[in-house]
Amino acid sequence: MPGMRPIPRGQKPQVKNPGKLFARLMKYVLHYYKFSCLFVVIFIFVGVLANVQGTLFTRDLIDEYITPFLLTDHPNFAPLARAIGRVAVFYAIGVLSNYAYNRIMINVTQGVLRNLRNALFEHMEKLPIKYFDTHSHGNIMSIYTNDIDTLRQLISQSIPQIINSAVTVVSVFVSMVVLSIPLTVLTLLMVCVVLFCSRFAASRSGRYFLEQQVNLGNLNGFIEEMMKGQKVVKVFCHEEENQKRFRELNDRLYVSADRANTFANILGPINAQLGNVSYVICAIAGGVLALNHIGGLTLGGLASFLTFNKSFNMPINQVSQQLNAIVMALAGTERVFGLMDEPVEVDQGYVTLVNAREENGELVETEEHTGRWAWKHTHQADGSVEYKELKGNVVFDGVDFGYNDDHMVLHDIRLYAEPGQKIAFVGSTGAGKTTITNLINRFYDIQDGKIRYDGININKMKKADLRRSLGIVLQDTHLFTGTVKENIRFGKLDATDQEVEAAARLANADGFIRRLPQGYDTLLTGDGANLSQGQRQLLAIARAAIANPPVLILDEATSSIDTRTERIVQEGMDRLMKGRTTFVIAHRLSTVKNSDCIMVLEQGRIIERGTHDQLIAQKGKYYQLYTGNAIGA
């Protein structure tokens, strides 16, 4: 993500309730893959046991076959062949169960990830706009990428590894005890030494990794800033100063990276070579014990024990290395579940939008597409049903609104729009123009007052139906990956190709679309990056036009597109507005002048209202804004 600094990793993330979180994750995994998980555990268990059996065979090989063979002249190899056959079967079972559990784990891991992603996305789509206002897009994205990825590692590697290690440690431990208790004690002592040393190195390395991540973050931040401003750097001949600063940051990163890596690197040799020491000590002690026949240790027993010694050290080291990964994954899990726990947009509306037709002067509901719509209002008190034609009459009555309860941004907004009227909002940035339009389609809920649509309080309407009846063209045009046709059809999913083209013609977009390489089937990617600003706006207008809503919310673009394109866009907008109730956040003189009513906003209040001529005569704020522009130079 450009613009976002990487979250410093290596920092020990703090997870509040790791046990509970882990339990919740496991519950989630088990919910879909109960039997798969059961089989995985069984196969791991079988695999480890088969392996232990195989190692124990070394003892029998030496003690029961080779040593006696040496004492006879004509040894009989048949029992040995049988024994080896038995071991081969064990091994085969071990290999097969190993493969089986790995194979099942793929389905479990990828399946859980798919379900998690789906659940995340589905939930995200239901979240209120407020969530997106208060969470940076980079952080939301990072849940889908980084956090899901740590989860993948946790599920596919850490958890099976831990189960495997636990089973191995226990069964190897039991086998060791059976073979020789004194040597087992010795092995345990050495394990403690190894753990102690590796803990020391790991904690040092962890501290330096933290430092490295901070330095890396600083350097990356600097790089990002300078690469973005590289042209300015050139224009101001600032290259040398930059190099100096870069060197400082780069050197600092080197020092900490060097240290962090050093300690991480020596972990391996410490584990491996101290493991060897443990092996050697056991070999010496075992040799002495076997020679003196103390504790019933045989030569074959010693051979097996030494193998166990190695396979005992390994899982313990592996688990200790996994611990950090697990803590990190749990931090990711916390964020994933955090998003899934966000409260969704509540919708208690019960007034729905239905197709209607007139029968004996009365509106009745119908299945067919009549082009007429009615609000179906089921009164909660007596269950009686009332139909009201969808017209586009909007009333604000004493509306107060704030993004937080303690800070109101709109105060006592009153306005009245008859069907087909055009209402313009003007005022400086932050005056609350966009906020008002966001209240009509209930992106936000108001604190006080009432908004009525065709005489019905919008709180009673189903949000989906309310929004369907409103068209919206935002200042920042967002297009989706897909063809031009699909993007226009976003406004009405079942629109025919003719309808799509008609909408495009109305929006003045038909001309440029036909000039595109594949016309209406041209693929748009990256938010329509292959189109110009003006063309994207035209598509957004077409998208609104095809939905054919009675009420329209327009946010005119302020960005400087050239005058000719602007005129084409303007024409499209004007045609779209015809015959619809329109709320327009206006930046253009012509739009404002042609409005039925102009609302001048300042600091969340309507300070002036009226037609252009009335407001000019008033010589208030509007007059100032208007003349400021006209005189300008």
């Binding site: 195989g54 040894p75 790995n102 990002e224 890596n261 050697v280 040799g287 406004g491």
Partner: protein, 582 residues
């Protein structure tokens, strides 16, 4: 390519050579241990010689200690070599990027350069470390173990040799197969993330059109695809571990069987059999490690290529020898100038442009998008080189000047201007390192930036966030103008630099420029006619050519495009521009 990149190892050459040597030491000691083990069993336990056990045991401990030392030092120098290499790589790239011309920068996107400097370098650092530590260690470990095994029993060791070959071939095919699948899978994964990104930023549109369900369905399909592809790819990879296990087990069984026979016929001792079994793990694990190293290397080649591209990019603009360091005055002339961004493109961006601008003149430039206004002014400070013809500043071809000297005299306020994190003072002083506070405040007055700066609680010491996100568009533009003014340039170019400033302030800035720095040649690109109509002369650009040149009145009378623009902006459909900065 590899040689060019490895040149950046520089002062870490010693560490880079020492690392594999230390790893070799560790490996040798590690292989010695099972060998000594055989001696303990045969001459110690079986022969009943305790003294021998202690003696050889002591040797083994010594071997383990030396091995540990080798491992530690190998780790130490491996870290030093790889992080140092990364440091040098970053530095080399960053320094090189500083010499890039605008054309070079355009070629690599900003995001592209950032990735190359960060992620790609980290990838290479990890791969380098892996190579230094493992490339030597794994084959050596395998080789040592094989040699030892052969010394013990050549007959039995052929089993290992066969196993190694079989396993190597299998691993090779598995990895090749799997990487092919993964290569297909990762773009799909990017697509999925792109669709999340799209939905997050366009959530208002989705909600306004009540398309949550449709989008969710689309996402489910994409995520099911990911599931299928990754399951397929991973199915190939997981064969690795069981295959390895299978080989190990087969070896153990074969060695046990034939070993037993050899022992009976007195060709092998029990202790030697145990050593052989111990080497089994060493040999096959090393092979596994080696295959991982290859995977890492193949994954980092893409990073390597991207870094190489940056290092090998040559800047196409350089200052000449004996360059001019003084710019005589602020006159500008274009003589038959053609220009295109790519040498191969057929249609030039500018065609046969001829202009004469006197010192101190104020020139307005107007024209539609794509009419090459910006391209025109970018040639003046030699941000790009002309394709044909010449551009003269102060009477001399811009190519004759030292680039730094030229750019210090020609200040450009770019269209997409950038402020840097730091205080307002620090940002302003990009224009002049040694400017006093008083000078900084003076240029801010000229650019009408003083009024809002002084309203900030911390005034000129207010910190600007990265990218200047804590000031409004209009404020940013005024700060950028002030910064350029601090250079005291002979030529000042404003490329659509007041588009977010309200018209009244815009007018005041122009008045200040006219009155306070009359000697400076000023070029003003604008969309609004009001921003240029009081200029001495106005250039109307159309499709890469000068369509009209003259005063406001002259153009109104003679130039159709100009008249059209003027009428559209004043006659009813103009910009109703509120005070966007308050």
């Amino acid at each position: 390519m590899l040689r060019r990149i490895l040149r950046e190892v520089k002062e870490y050459k010693a560490a880079s050579i020492a690392t594999p040597l230390y790893m070799l030491l560790e490996v040798m000691m590690e292989t010695l241990i099972p060998f000594l083990m055989a001696s303990i069993i045969d001459q110690g336990v079986n022969a009943g010689d305790i003294a021998h056990i202690y003696k050889v045991g002591g040797l083994m401990l010594l071997a383990a200690a030396v091995g540990l030392l080798g491992g530690l030092l190998g780790g130490r120098y491996g870290a030093k070599a790889s992080t140092g290499f990364a440091k040098n790589l970053r530095e080399a790239m960053f320094d090189h990027i500083q010499t890039f011309s605008f054309a070079n920068i355009d070629k690599f996107s900003t995001a592209g350069l950032v990735t190359r400097l960060t992620t790609d370098v980290t990838n290479l650092q990890n791969a380098y470390q892996m190579v230094l530590r493992m490339m030597m260690r794994s084959p050596a470990s395998m080789l040592c173990a094989l040699i030892m095994a052969f010394r013990i029993s050549a007959k039995l060791s052929t089993i290992y040799l066969a196993a190694v070959i079989v396993l190597a071939v299998c691993l090779f095919f598995i990895i090749r197969h799997a990487t092919r699948y993964f290569r297909q899978a990762f773009p799909k994964y990017d697509e999925l993330n792109a669709s999340v990104q799209e939905n997050v930023s366009a959530i208002r549109v989705v909600k306004a059109y009540v398309r949550e369900e449709q989008e969710t369905d689309k996402f489910h399909k994409a995520s099911q695809n990911i599931y299928k592809i990754f399951t397929k790819a991973e199915t190939n990879v997981i064969v690795n571990a069981p295959l390895m296990q299978f080989t190990v087990y087969t070896c153990i069984i074969l060695i046990s069987w034939f070993g037993a026979k050899l022992i009976v016929s007195n060709e092998l001792t029990t202790g030697e059999l145990m050593s052989l079994l111990a080497y089994c793990m060493n040999i096959l694990m090393s092979l596994m490690m080696l295959s991982m190293v290859f995977v890492m290397i193949s994954m980092s080649t893409a990073s390597m290529e991207r870094i190489y591209e940056v290092l090998e990019e040559t800047s196409d603009l350089t200052s000449p020898e004996n360059a001019l360091t003084e710019v005589a005055d602020g006159s500008i002339s274009f003589r038959h100038v053609d220009f295109s961004y790519h040498k191969t493109s057929e249609k030039p961006v500018l065609k046969d442009v001829n202009l004469e601008i006197a010192p101190g003149e104020t020139i307005g430039i107007i024209g539609g998008t794509g009419s090459a206004k910006t391209s025109l002014v970018n040639l003046i400070s030699r941000l790009y080189d002309v394709t044909e013809g010449e551009v003269l500043v102060g009477g001399r071809n811009v190519k004759e000047y030292d680039m730094e000297a030229l750019r210090n005299q020609v200040a450009v306020v770019l269209q997409n201007n950038v402020l840097f994190s730091g205080t307002i003072y620090e940002n302003l002083r990009w224009g002049d390192q040694n400017a006093t506070d008083e000078e900084c405040r003076r240029v801010c007055r000229l650019a009408c930036a003083d009024e809002f700066i002084e309203k900030f609680p911390e005034g000129y010491n207010t910190r600007i966030e990265q990218g200047g996100n804590n000031v409004s568009g209009g404020q940013k533009q005024r700060l950028c103008i002030a910064r350029a003014l601090l250079k005291k340039p002979k030529i000042l170019i404003l490329d659509d630099s007041t588009s977010a400033v309200d018209t009244a302030t815009d007018a005041r800035i122009r008045k200040a420029l006219r009155e306070e720095i009359p000697g400076t040649t000023k070029l003003i690109i604008a969309q609004r006619v009001s921003s240029v109509q009081d200029a001495d002369r106005i250039i109307v650009m159309e499709d890469g050519t000068v369509n009209g040149l003259g005063t406001h009145e002259e153009l109104l009378a003679s130039n159709e495009i100009y008249r059209e623009v003027f009428e559209s902006q004043t006659g009813g459909s103009g910009d109703f521009d509120e005070n966007r900065d308050q």
